[in-house]
Amino acid sequence: MIDVIEAARTAGVEWLSLYAFSTENWRRPAGEVDFLMRLVRHAVRKHAPLLHARRIRCRFLGVTDSRVPAPLARDFADLMTLTGANRGMTLTVAFDHGGRGDIVEAARSLIRSGVSADAVDEENFAAHLPFPDTPDVDLVIRTSGEQRISNFMLWQVAYAEWVFPPVLWPDFRATHFVECLRTFQQRDRRFGGVTPNANGETRP
């Protein structure tokens, strides 16, 4: 994992998000969940100094679930405090995150703020999402040959390019990442319109 983070940083990626654990993963057997939690805690603690040294700002999406063990939540909070002032690259770890949940939460927050229905547009809706400064996602890499969205950052992936390398996540290395980047660079991104150079129009 740290390998991939390093590769992304070196390649000039400014925003990197990792999907570590989804809300649905809680349905897995308790022993497996416990093991995963210990693994995550171990990884966070092991890599904290390096992440900080690389000036990477770390933050966590959806760690407020009470099922997240208290010591792990403490480590998450500590890592956010430690790296909060860094501006090298922003690493968002989606932990116990569900894209629909985020959207529902944003809707709630919007209603609570008393905005009239007519005043709601995409921009001010997005301002109520968690970490509203996160830009739209350019590229999603879904490993293991699975070709599903799996409720990941639903709002932000609207215009994302997707690649589906067959390699399993534990085997996914820097070289795989660079390969995915190359694929991305060859994509013809049209953002819902047609390519500007095909008919001379500028994109919205």
Partner: protein, 492 residues
């Protein structure tokens, strides 16, 4: 090298102080040269240990002092008191002496072995001053800059004068320095004991030294610092004690501690060459008490340091190897539990019970803050004494003369009785220095050392009696955290 001697007139002047003419107090005195010396902190800890080893002082410390629970407060108060006593202003000195005498006259009783103790006993007070003098001399000796005989005599005369201001003319220190050393050796040899206060100070204090207020909320940083500093200060202090006493009291002889002690004193001595503002003992002590959000100009620096500390704390926690038993650290909410309030505010002496010395300590702290004179100081003590009687009647269900945590928790609602309201009223009168029935910004600052909070002041910018009494009661009984009383009574 003879050609360079002429370029150091200051050094030459210092080596030959003008005897007779030099004042015993104030900026020209020998004592003043030590006052901002960072080695003082170590010397004062050492002096406190030697005081505690005296049976009578030890008993007074055990019965009444909050030193173990609030060491920083006590250190700060001692600094302030010495500053007043050794300052240039004779009126301030006389007032401070009167205040100390009033304070000491309240410290008497019998110890666990039914031996009487009395803080007004001239021998006891002489011993306290003797430890301060001797620790200063030892501080210089251990850091490789032993005092010259004349300087030492000068300093001794100043400490004698200090004692005389408190005791009138019959100070019990030996008349000359030549007679002092046999006196000192004799007390060490014959009177000092391994008292309970000594054991508590050495072991409990160094083991569980509470964090200074600036580090409050950052327990990990403090734990890391203390893990190193506590045993170190402990070892240094123990090994600097007179050897015969160390042997008799069965204090551990730590291999290498002697060398360590000398290097510690030496290292701290060398710190004198750092920029002044870094090392002024007084500055350090007061910085420990700056509240991060107060209007003190240093608060911004403190806030910046705190942010850095927060990050350092986060890093420390992350890189600390995982403990076998993870502890669920709870963030403190705005409300205290009855138990927390008992521990943080009421039980000032930290013995697990609420007793008169706990309330006396609060009265003492408040009088010190407000710099009260007679008769207001006595009024405040009396109000606290009345409250104590009320508490005892209402809360001491098992009749052992003190109130346990459980007895307190069971009776929390009845805490705001008429006697506590009386305490609030008396405190208001004392704080309202100009007697205009409202507390203005200056009077408020005298008590709490911070400016008015917006929600405190009435519309006309002052703090009324009713609001003051209400807030005091809500702190003392409603267990409201984050009130201005917190830094005053709850912090170390």
């Amino acid at each position: 090298m003879t050609d360079t001697t002429g370029s150091h007139p200051d050094a030459t002047a210092q080596e030959h102080p003008v005897d007779g003419d030099a004042p015993l107090f104030g900026p020209g005195s020998q004592f003043h040269q030590f006052f901002n010396d960072p080695r003082w902190a170590l010397a004062m800890v050492r002096a406190t240990v030697l005081e505690a080893a005296h049976p009578q002082v030890g008993a007074a410390l055990m019965e009444s002092s909050t030193f173990v629970v609030h060491p920083w407060r006590r250190l700060r108060n001692t600094f302030l008191s010495l500053q007043r006593m050794f300052g240039a202003d004779d009126q301030v000195r006389q007032r401070e002496a009167a205040r100390l005498n009033r304070l000491h006259s309240r410290l008497n009783g019998t110890d666990a072995h039914q031996r009487p103790y009395d803080a007004m006993d001239p021998h006891v007070r002489a011993w306290v001053v003797a430890t301060l003098f001797e620790s200063t001399v030892t501080m210089c000796r251990l850091s490789g800059q032993p005092l010259e005989q004349r300087t030492m005599e000068r300093l001794y005369a100043e400490f004698q004068a200090y004692l005389a201001v408190m005791d009138g003319e019959d100070g019990r220190l030996p008349a000359t320095l030549q007679e002092f050393w046999p006196y000192y050796d004799r007390v060490v040899e014959e009177e000092l004991e391994n008292t309970e206060a000594l054991r508590i100070i050495l072991y409990k204090l160094f083991d569980h030294l509470p964090a200074p207020p600036v580090l409050d909320g950052l327990p990990t940083v403090w734990a890391a610092g203390r893990a190193l500093a506590g045993p170190l200060v402990g070892a240094i202090t123990v090994s600097s004690l007179p050897e015969s006493f160390r042997r008799r009291a069965g204090l551990p002889d730590i291999p290498g501690a002697r060398t360590l002690t000398q290097s510690a004193y030496l290292a701290i001595g060398l710190a004198r060459f750092l920029p002044d503002s870094w090392t002024q003992a007084e500055g350090l002590v007061s910085l420990l008490f700056v509240a991060p959000d107060s209007e003190d100009p240093r608060a911004r620096t403190v806030t910046a340091v705190r942010d850095g500390m927060k990050r350092a704390g986060a890093l420390l926690r992350l890189i600390t190897p995982l403990p076998a038993q993870p502890d669920p650290a709870e963030a403190p909410g705005p409300q205290r539990t009855a138990e927390e309030f008992f521990r943080d505010v009421l039980d000032q002496t930290g013995d697990g019970y609420l007793d008169w010395p706990d309330l006396a300590a609060m009265a003492r702290e408040l009088s010190g803050r407000l710099d009260l004179d007679e008769p207001q100081e006595t009024r405040l003590y009396n109000a606290y004494a009345e409250w104590w009687k009320e508490l005892q009647t209402d809360l001491d269900t098992d009749g052992d003369g003190r109130i346990s945590k459980e007895e307190y928790a069971a009776a929390v609602p009845s805490l705001a009785g008429p006697a506590l309201i009386k305490v609030a009223e008396v405190l208001f009168d004392a704080t309202d220095a100009d007697g205009n029935q409202s507390i203005d910004a200056d009077e408020y600052r005298a008590l709490f050392r911070t400016g008015f909070h917006r929600d405190v002041a009435d519309t006309d910018g002052s703090y009324s009696r009713a609001a003051f009494v209400r807030d005091f009661l809500s702190f003392m009984s409603g267990r409201q955290r984050s009130s201005p009383y917190d830094p005053l009574l709850a912090e170390a």
